[in-house]
């Protein structure tokens, strides 16, 4: 049927609506039934035992915001606001121990709750129901995807941050006395951590004006060739800053690795244990080292 | 954020300094730590010096790369100089045809994450290296 300019299109039951038109109708429905649908959703969340780390009030408050952002995303087909909200939500709930499956779970629940209400509304017009669902599904999936991805990214960021903090903590550069630093390394060293340790130590040498550094590797089980190389580089770089490095707690296995990569152990300053290393460091610094009297 | 491409003509040892300063600035702009920016600047210095020493002139191209999940910097050193006879040999620590330390190319390889070299005698040399932001 040809359309004339200027006149509004008369309602025509046989005409097929544009998907955007369907979405608009859908959005109107969701707005009208906001209170009831949101309530239903919250009930389903609690029944499914999702978000157990949060109180009822908190769940309700978040559900309200998610519901509104969800409807808005459907309406505008712009996902930025939802994305920002998802990130913000994640930031708040990740520290409370909320898991990825819970976040994905609640968004999928909302999708179902809304789909069911559509079933109910259009149960007498099967064709229309199908068309509405065709328009709704891809949009709903994109929304679920956006929220899930936002959450996962935020979670990864938090985990990275925590790892960083743990790393910093796990290897402190200790100043035991003026101009003397101790770096007790414990655990597994991968190249990334080795790099971090080196940078930390070099900065430490500069800020503390250290002249001697004792690197204790008693707590290091094994070292591959790359990490052994890093250790040697750390010793060399420290010297470039004017500090002498003493390595203590070298196991026979690690000593062997060092020899394998061509390190002249005679040139490297090694002492059996940490105590001996500190004593030698103090001698280098000109302190008198006094042995404690043997207990009688 | 978008950082374009920068080309620095290398004609004298003065240009080595400006190439590495531009490289450091771009690295910082791309969000590299200052430690990494120093590694990148050092690599640029070595590549630019090889151009001056062996090809007399050439250029250094710097550009940011934005992968799907990471950001990096690419440094391309190219010249139309004499080229390298035996690349494997040139990449060995301590090998030098000019009596210098022979640590430039192998060192650059250690400083950066990715390293590619293309050179033929009489056809010039291209060294392309990449570093990813941590």
């Amino acid at each position: 049927m040809p359309r004339r300019e200027g006149t509004p299109t008369p309602p025509d039951p046989k005409r097929t609506e544009e998907p955007s038109e369907l979405l608009r109708e859908l959005v109107a429905h969701l707005r009208q039934n906001r209170t009831q649908l949101r309530e239903e959703w919250v009930v389903r969340i609690t029944e499914t035992r999702l978000l157990t780390a949060m109180t009822k009030e908190e769940i309700f408050a978040e559900a309200t915001s998610v519901y509104d952002s969800y409807v808005e995303a459907l309406e505008t087909e712009a996902f930025e606001a939802l994305q920002a909200y998802a990130r913000n939500l994640s930031e708040r709930i990740i520290p409370r121990g909320v898991e990825t499956h819970e976040v994905v779970g609640i968004v999928l629940l909302l999708r179902d709750v809304l789909a069911r209400s559509l079933f109910a509304k259009y149960q007498n017009d099967f064709k229309k129901l199908n068309r509405i669902l065709d328009a709704y599904e891809p949009a709903a999936n994109r929304i679920a995807n956006t929220v899930a991805v936002g959450f996962v990214q935020e979670r990864e960021r938090v985990i990275r941050q925590q790892q960083e903090a743990i790393r910093e903590l796990s290897t402190p550069v200790l100043q035991v006395r003026e101009r003397l630093l101790i770096l007790p390394i414990i655990g597994v060293i991968d190249p990334q951590r080795a790099r971090q340790l080196t940078e930390q130590l070099l900065r430490g040498i500069r800020t503390n004006r250290a002249k001697v550094v004792v690197i204790d590797i008693t707590g290091v089980a094994a070292m591959d060739l790359t990490v052994a190389n890093n250790l040697v580089q750390t010793v060399e770089a420290s010297r470039l800053l004017g500090a002498t490095v003493i390595v203590t707690g070298l196991s026979p296995e690690i000593a062997q690795t060092l020899v394998t990569i061509g390190v002249d152990l005679g040139k490297m300053n090694t002492v059996g244990d940490l105590q001996g290393g500190i004593e030698q460091a103090e001698r280098l610094l000109g302190y008198k080292v006094e042995k404690l009297a043997e207990p009688r | 954020m978008s950082v374009g491409e920068i080309r620095v003509a290398i004609n004298s040892d003065q240009d080595i300094v400006s190439a590495r300063q531009k490289g450091r600035a771009m690295a910082s702009e791309l969000g590299f730590s200052s430690g990494d920016a120093t590694l990148i600047a050092t690599a640029i210095s070595e590549l630019a010096r090889n151009i001056v020493s062996y090809a007399r002139k050439g250029q250094i191209t710097l550009k940011g790369v934005h992968g799907s999940s990471r950001v990096g910097i690419v440094v391309i050193a190219s010249d139309d100089g004499p080229g390298i006879l035996d690349i494997r040999q040139a990449l060995r620590d301590g090998f030098s045809t000019s009596g210098s330390l022979g640590l430039g190319l192998p060192g650059v390889r250690r400083l950066m994450d990715e390293f590619e070299i293309d050179s033929q005698p009489g056809r010039g040399t291209i060294v392309a290296v990449k570093k990813w932001r941590q």
Binding site: T198, E199, L202, R203, I205, R206, R209, K211, Q233, E236, A237, S238, R239, L240, L241, G242, A243 | D13, Q14, I16, V17, R20, Q21, R24, S34, G35, T38, L39, A41, T42, S45, E46, R49, V52, D93, S100, L101, L103, G104, P106, G107, R110, L111
Partner: protein, 120 residues
């Protein structure tokens, strides 16, 4: 860019102002050796605090300077290498082996004082 050379007692101090070109480095080498001879200096301190990068050419030049100065009976101390620069140097394989190093000018002077005390 010229590298100023300061004379403090028996010690010559050369301070790198900023990123130096090869030509500057070569000039410094000549200047230092001449002055060590002229003033009969016992030591030279090269302060590289301001250097943003120490590549293989700069490193080799510093080693050559130290070597030539040793041949004239004096010692060289390199001071002021920045932590990040040191890290890059060892990655390259540059360790300035055989050349004394100190944290900064103050430390370099303290090191030399100690040394002169015990040797003279």
């Amino acid at each position: 860019m010229e590298v100023p050379i300061l004379k403090q007692g028996a010690v010559l101090i050369a301070t790198f102002q900023a990123a130096l070109s090869d030509a500057d480095l070569n000039q410094l080498r000549m200047g230092l050796v001449q002055q060590v001879v002229k003033f009969r200096s016992r030591a030279v301190i090269v302060d590289v605090t301001a250097m943003d990068v120490m590549d293989s050419f700069a490193s080799r030049t510093l080693r050559e300077i130290a070597h030539m100065i040793r041949l004239r009976g004096a010692e060289t101390v390199i001071v002021g290498i920045q932590p990040e620069v040191a890290f890059a140097m060892v990655q390259l394989g540059l360790t300035l082996e055989g050349v004394a190093t100190a944290l900064d000018l103050e430390e370099g002077l303290a090191y030399l004082n100690e040394k002169f005390k015990t040797t003279s």
